[in-house]
C-alpha cells in the first residue's frame, strides 16, 4: 500500500427508517477524502441519504476458524424461537 493510503469500509442508509448497509470499500488518505470518494463511487444515482466510512482496520471480527465454537451457545436453544411452543388449537393472536 502506498504511504498514507488506507482502505475504508462504506455503509449507506438508503432512506430514513432503514438500517445502514455495507456496500463495499474505498481507498483514501483521510476522513474527508474517504467520505468524498465513497460518495462518488457508491452514490452516483441517489443510492443514499447518509454515509458512514470506517477504517477497515477498525473493524473487529470473529476468526473464521473459531466461528463454530463462538456461535455455539445459540445452537441448542430452540426455546428462543416462537415455533418451540405449542398453543392449543383455536386460540388466536399468539
Amino acid at each position: 500500500m502506498e504511504k498514507g493510503d488506507k482502505v475504508w469500509e462504506v455503509f449507506i442508509q438508503k432512506k430514513s427508517g432503514l438500517a445502514f448497509k455495507h456496500v463495499g470499500n474505498v481507498h483514501a488518505y483521510d476522513k474527508k477524502m474517504a467520505i468524498h470518494n465513497a460518495r462518488d463511487l457508491y452514490t452516483r444515482r441517489g443510492e443514499g441519504r447518509a454515509l458512514w466510512v470506517v477504517p477497515t482496520e477498525a473493524i473487529v471480527s470473529v476468526p473464521l476458524d473459531d466461528s463454530d465454537a463462538f456461535f455455539d451457545p445459540a445452537d441448542d436453544k430452540v426455546y428462543r424461537h416462537a415455533t418451540f411452543y405449542e398453543i392449543p388449537k383455536g386460540v388466536k393472536h399468539l
Binding site: 500500500m1 498514507g4 482502505v7 463495499g24 481507498h27 488518505y29 462518488d40 452516483r44 444515482r45
Partner: protein, 309 residues
C-alpha cells in the same frame, strides 16, 4: 481431503458463494485474482478510447452523457480492484502488473476511436458484449465478484442504450454520417465478437473455471447470445454486418458467422495492436503526473489524522 476442502467443494456443489475468509484452493484464488484484475484493468483502460472524444462531443448533452458513462467505468474498475483485494493482492501490485505488461486487459481497447460514430459503436457493441458476459458472471461462485457484477449490470444498462442512440442518429443522418456509422461497425464488429475469448475448443482455462463455477457459461455460448441479439439491431439501423457468410439458421434459430481472424486477435493480445503502447504509456504518465497529489495527501493526512497507516 480435509474438512476445509470438503467445505469448499460443498459450497461450489450447492451453488452457494465463497466468501473472502473461507478456505479455498490456491489455484481458485489465483484464477480469480487473474480474472478479476484483468476485468478491472479493462474498465480502467477502456476509459481512454472514450475519453478521446470527451472534448469533441458534438453537443453538450452528448458530452454530459459520455462523461457520466466514463465515470461509471472508473467506478467499475474500482469495485473490481476492491474485489481482487479481498483475495490478498493490493491495488498497488495490480497497477504495477498492468503497467509492466504482466497483467492483460481486454484487447478491444487497443483499437482507436477515430470518429464520433466509434463512440456509438463502443457503447452499442463493446458494452453490449460486456453486458452479456457480466450478466452471466452475476452467478459466479466468488461472493464479492458476484455482488460487484450485480451492481455493475444495473449501471451498464444505460451505456449500451446511449451507444445505440448515437448509432441511430448517425445511421439515420446524412449520407456521410451513415457511412461513418457503417465504417465504425466494420471495424468494431469482429473485435467485439472476440471479446468473448477463444472458441471453447481452444480455451485454456475453461474446464477448471467452469467446474469451480467462476465462469458459468462458455465463450461460444455467450458469443452466440450476443450475435443473436445484435444482428437485428444492426438491421434496424440499415447497416450491414461485415461478414458475407452471416446467415440465419432456421433450424437452430441462431445466426451463424464466418470464421474470425484469430491471428489478428492473438497479435493484439501479444501487444501489437494499434494502441497497446499508447494505452499503457498514457496510464503510466497519468500515474506519474499525480504523484505530487498522493504525496500531498499523505502529508496532509499525517498532520490531520490521529492514526495513519
Amino acid at each position: 481431503m480435509d474438512k476445509f476442502e470438503e467445505a469448499f467443494n460443498k459450497i461450489i456443489e450447492k451453488d452457494r458463494k465463497v466468501e473472502p475468509r473461507d478456505w479455498m484452493p490456491e489455484k481458485y484464488r489465483q484464477t480469480n485474482i487473474r480474472q478479476i484484475s484483468q476485468h478491472a484493468h479493462s474498465e480502467i483502460i477502456g476509459m481512454q478510447p472514450e475519453g478521446n472524444w470527451l472534448l469533441r462531443a458534438p453537443s453538450l448533452r452528448s458530452k454530459q452523457v459520455l462523461l457520466a458513462k466514463i465515470q461509471d467505468e472508473a467506478g467499475h474498475g474500482l469495485y473490481l480492484y476492491s474485489v481482487a483485494e479481498t483475495l490478498g493482492i493490493s491495488r498497488q501490485e495490480m497497477i504495477a502488473q498492468l503497467q509492466s505488461g504482466e497483467a492483460k486487459y481486454s484487447s478491444i481497447f487497443n483499437y482507436p476511436t477515430v470518429s464520433w460514430a466509434d463512440i456509438g459503436a463502443v457503447g452499442w457493441l463493446v458494452d453490449g458484449a460486456a453486458i452479456v458476459n457480466q450478466v452471466s458472471l452475476q452467478r459466479t461462485s466468488y461472493g464479492p465478484y458476484s455482488r460487484a457484477m450485480v451492481r455493475i449490470c444495473k449501471e451498464e444498462s444505460f451505456h449500451q442504450r446511449q451507444g445505440y442512440e448515437i448509432m441511430c442518429s448517425m445511421a439515420f443522418g446524412t449520407a456521410e454520417q451513415k457511412e461513418m456509422a457503417q465504417d465504425a461497425l466494420n471495424r468494431f464488429w469482429e473485435p467485439a465478437l472476440m471479446m468473448f475469448g477463444p472458441h471453447d475448443s481452444d480455451s485454456v482455462h475453461k474446464g477448471q473455471s467452469m467446474e469451480w463455477k467462476i465462469k458459468r457459461e462458455s465463450n461460444d455460448h455467450l458469443r452466440q447470445r450476443f450475435i443473436d441479439r445484435t444482428v437485428p439491431q444492426a438491421q434496424y439501423l440499415g447497416l450491414t454486418i461485415p461478414d458475407d457468410q452471416l446467415k440465419f439458421n432456421e433450424e437452430t434459430q441462431h445466426w451463424e458467422t464466418g470464421p474470425f481472424n484469430w491471428d489478428e486477435f492473438w497479435n493484439v493480445v501479444k501487444g501489437n495492436g494499434p494502441c497497446n503502447q499508447e494505452r499503457i504509456d498514457h496510464h503510466i504518465a497519468a500515474h506519474k503526473d499525480n504523484e505530487w497529489v498522493r504525496e500531498a495527501a499523505a502529508a496532509y493526512a499525517a498532520k490531520t489524522e490521529l492514526e495513519v497507516a
